[in-house]
């Protein structure tokens, strides 16, 4: 029997989650297609990394967001264990500073209860201060959501893809979909910069570019506008940190600037929300005004922020804002075989597992035959973290593989063995190694290790040192060999 072929366009958190869920079925061939050099480099890489409780989204205005967020929050507890993705379930506080804010808290409470969020409570100052020492003294009330948490978003995408590939999914990197061919009733193949791929089904999980992909099959009823958010990240020693996720009372456009401590222990503040024109889907520039706004807004939530000299990185991420504001999760209205999973803006990471389970349901509804595998492997093991191992375990690791005895990144104490393992798991660039191991994410921001990593990549990938890419296409670390250039 011929296997039906499914292409998932986009290997972000959504495409990767869908790939994992579909990899449970044995009678399909799954192609996960990504235009970048690595998975998870679009929307998934740079965001606030929060697993929202699910009280924000109005079930009448945004039914998909309301439904999938609460379910996704629940599913991540299981998924993060199976895939060994770091999470912290420290809960969130929405803070009020005025009467209007307080009213908004009660709205959120009601909405959250309607959405089925567990454990929500409005709490008073004394209890707020008990939950969060560093909260601003001006706070009046807070909505306490104990089910909210944090995740490492890039690690999540990498883990999902590793698990999907382990279960037979075929990953295509640096592959851009140029056209989708149909025979009048259904889809037959994808045309890409790397040749054609025969497919029966296409899942459009292309993030910021989902409108571009939909347009290839004549769908023009939604647009994806980039909404930029800027952030400050502090070094892991910077204090005071926060022990909960702190939100202001939400504004219509966004949930506001958040103060949070990442799963890696770095204090982070952001994002603001700047709507960009539709064609600025790569504009990840940080700006003076944007960063000033973030600092100002974050300062309102806490007693103190660390000094600016403790900032180790400023960055910007883009959220894919769909027309209408709700997730676009539906099949093409006339063409069989095309399913949109688009406009997955916040709370997208939270919702991802729940959205992913929706896809096989839609496929079955559209007439696909799906048979569960008997030997599907739900488990993925994370890269061993030398720095977090006990002394005894460290000794064992070095005895087993001496590369654990070579510290590559001094700030985060990442070993050569971890770098080599990251490359084995698919890192092809300095950035890919960094995101998988944290090498270069410390105080010096890679000044001491970037080159060491490049040399390990050169050795493992068998390319010349100058050809090692830092990020995507065209980002080689050098322009050539020093001595051959002398001859020019």
């Amino acid at each position: 029997m011929n296997k039906e072929k499914i292409a998932i366009i986009g290997a972000g958190i959504i495409g990767a989650s869908i790939a994992r869920v579909l990899s449970r079925y044995e009678n399909i061939e799954i192609h996960l297609i990504e235009m970048e050099t690595d998975v998870g480099w679009g929307v998934s890489k740079a965001n606030t990394a929060i697993l929202h409780a699910g009280y924000d989204d109005d079930p009448f205005l945004y039914p998909n967001r309301a439904k999938y967020c609460v379910r996704g929050n629940y599913l991540w507890r299981k998924w993060s264990k199976q895939l060994q993705i770091r999470t912290s379930w420290n809960g969130s506080l929405v803070l009020s500073f005025s009467k209007e804010d307080e009213e908004e808290l009660y709205n959120l409470l009601e909405r959250g209860e309607r959405n089925g969020v567990k454990g929500l409570r409005i709490i008073e100052k004394r209890e707020i201060q008990k939950l969060e020492e560093n909260v601003s003294p001006n706070v009046t009330l807070a909505l306490w959501a104990p089910t909210a948490g944090q995740i490492s978003p890039f690690e999540a995408v990498a883990a999902l893809v590793e698990n999907a590939v382990e279960n037979g999914v075929i990953l295509h990197l640096e592959t851009k979909v140029l056209d989708i061919v149909e025979d009048g009733t259904r889809i037959t193949k994808l045309v890409t910069n790397n040749g054609e791929i025969e497919v029966d089904w296409v899942i459009n999980a292309a993030g910021l570019y989902a409108d571009y992909i939909a347009k290839l099959v004549g769908e023009e009823d939604f647009k994806i506008t980039p909404r930029k958010g800027e952030y400050f990240l502090f070094n892991d020693r910077a204090k005071p940190k926060v022990s909960r996720i702190l939100f202001p009372a939400p504004k219509p456009k966004s949930k506001g600037v958040v103060v949070t401590t990442t799963v890696d222990g770095n204090l982070m503040i952001g994002p603001n929300a700047t709507d960009l024109p539709e064609d600025e889907k790569e504009n990840r520039e940080t700006t003076q005004e944007g960063l000033e706004e973030v600092w100002r807004e974050a300062s309102k939530l806490v007693k103190n922020l660390p000094s600016k000299s403790e900032v180790i990185k400023t960055f910007a991420g883009l959220r894919p804002e769909p027309t209408g504001g709700d997730f676009v999760i539906r099949p093409h209205n006339s063409l069989l075989g095309f399913i949109n999973v688009a406009g997955i803006r916040s709370p997208g990471i939270t919702s991802a597992p729940a959205i992913a389970y929706e896809v096989p349901k839609m496929l079955l509804h559209l007439g696909a035959r799906l048979i569960l595998k008997k030997n599907w492997n739900p488990i993925r093991r994370r890269i061993v973290k030398f720095s977090r191992s006990s002394n005894r375990r460290k000794r064992e690791l070095i005895a087993m593989n001496p590369l654990y005895g070579n510290i590559v990144c001094q700030c985060e104490m990442v070993t050569e063995a971890e770098v080599v393992e990251a490359i084995r798991r698919g890192a092809k660039t300095v950035e890919g190694v960094k995101l998988r191991t944290r090498a270069g994410m410390g105080k010096c921001q890679g000044a001491f290790c970037r080159i060491k990593i490049a040399m390990i990549l050169s050795r493992e990938l068998k390319i010349k040192p100058w050809q090692v890419k830092v990020k995507g296409t065209g980002s080689e670390i050098g322009v050539g060999d020093l001595f051959s250039l002398l001859r020019k």
Binding site: E285, R395, G405, N406, I407, S475, D481
Partner: protein, 422 residues
């Protein structure tokens, strides 16, 4: 468990010098640890000359300087551990510290009476100096670019803009020019260059490289590789002058915007840190607030010359030998160094007055025709000019210090001809 009298953490210039001196002074068991697989720290990649004028009385390149030091090291019987990364230091008691290190052979634990911490400094990065915009490839710190070129033979780029006119920035400008790259500008936010005058002449003027004083790189433009940088002119308050923005096309941005001592493990150990030098507060033996723990070289203070780093290594070794042979540094009433006027810092911060001491300091802003005065000992030293980029090094003799009364030693700078306090 390995047992030592002295463990030197960091095998750059000051660490090597400290180890050699320690052996000369008769310290029996000395270990020198470095994370790289070679000794010398950054010296082997500094292929320009200007090293060793004080220490070896010769003008040497970085690799030559290292070679000479290495020869001296080989004549001693100290234990050298390369490719060994010190991950933790613990303070057991007055005479016992533990140093934990990771290497391919496992985790080593060193028990030692004294420690000299000489781990050098790190470079400030693009985020710390607030450059906005995109984050593409092609942004390097000066040291990174130097490592790429002169350790690994990789040419980082063709069209270069350098941020910061400190000595390292200037030397890298020349290094790129010598390699045939087009160095489009060295951009400096201050109204005066950050580096030594000889480097302005030899590295920029000789190669017709423009120096843009009072200018700032605002943002980086480029998706995967740097394509342009946006620059603006600054007014006297270092704010952007409206309408002065322009762009420079380039594929490489080199950041040379200052160095910060690396003292994370000392911080973890709880030694007192000076917020100005961002390193440990030390006495005239270069001992930190923890007895028997010394710090030297660029992890103590960012030096202009390798010779100073070497000198501090030797000072610390002397301190360590005193500690070992006298069972500790004698308790004295330390005189605190106080600063007045145009002075950023002077180290050591604590002076015993029992022995001669070499002081290192920097001013805050450039000035001409000034005097440096140490009030309590009535010492005045004239300077034709002082600049933040040029370290002031002065020796105070035991005799001079013996005349000092009180609990402090006050350093001030004032205009020649003017009376202090006017």
């Amino acid at each position: 468990m390995y047992s030592y009298d002295l463990v030197v953490v960091g095998g750059g210039a000051s660490g090597i010098a400290a180890s050699i001196k320690a052996k000369e002074l008769g310290i029996k068991k000395v270990a020198l640890i470095d994370e790289k697989n070679y000794l010398g720290g950054v010296l082997p990649q500094c292929i320009h000359s200007g090293f060793g004028l004080v220490y070896f009385k010769e003008d040497l390149t970085g690799p030559e300087f290292t070679e000479k030091l290495a020869q001296k090291v080989m004549e001693t019987d100290l234990d050298i551990y390369t490719s060994t990364f010190v991950s933790k230091i613990a303070y057991r008691d007055y005479f016992e510290k533990l140093v934990y290190a990771v290497s391919k052979h496992g985790i080593k634990k060193f028990k030692t009476k004294t420690i000299i911490y000489s781990t050098g400094c790190r470079e400030r990065n693009i985020y710390e100096i607030g450059i906005l915009g995109n984050r593409p490839s092609g942004v390097f710190t000066a040291g990174e670019a130097q490592t790429l070129m002169d350790i690994y033979g990789v040419m980082p780029g063709r069209e270069i803009v350098i941020v910061g006119s400190g000595d390292i920035g200037l030397i890298m400008a020349r290094r790129f020019a010598l390699q045939g790259a087009n160095v489009k500008a060295v951009v400096e936010i201050m109204p005066y260059p950050g580096g030594l005058t000889r480097n302005i002449v030899q590295c920029l003027n000789d190669f017709n490289i423009p120096l843009l004083l009072n200018h700032s790189v605002l943002r980086v433009i480029g998706k995967n590789r740097v394509e342009e940088v946006e620059v603006c002119k600054l007014d006297e308050n270092r704010k952007c002058i409206e309408g002065s923005k322009f762009r420079i096309k380039c594929d490489t941005l080199v950041i040379s915007a200052g160095l910060v001592p690396r003292v994370e493990l000392l911080e973890d150990l709880g030694v007192t840190i000076d917020p100005i030098t961002k390193s440990a507060v030390v006495n005239d033996r270069l001992e930190t607030s923890l007895p028997g723990v010394f710090v030297a070289g660029n992890s103590l203070v960012v030096n202009d010359l390798v010779d100073y780093a070497v000198e501090q290594g030797e000072m610390a070794a002397q301190g360590a030998s005193e500690f070992i042979f006298n069972k500790g540094i004698n308790a004295v009433l330390w005189k605190k160094v106080k600063l007045n006027g145009n002075i950023r810092f002077f180290i050591p911060q604590l002076i015993s007055g029992e022995k001669a001491v070499t002081m290192y300091g920097r001013v805050l802003t450039p000035e001409e025709n000034v005097k440096l005065k140490v009030s309590e000992i009535n010492k005045e030293i004239p300077f034709v000019r002082v600049r933040p980029s040029e370290m002031i090094r002065l020796k105070l003799s035991k005799d001079e210090l013996s005349s000092a009364r009180g609990e402090s030693l006050t350093f001030s700078i004032f205009k020649r001809g003017a009376q202090l306090g006017e």
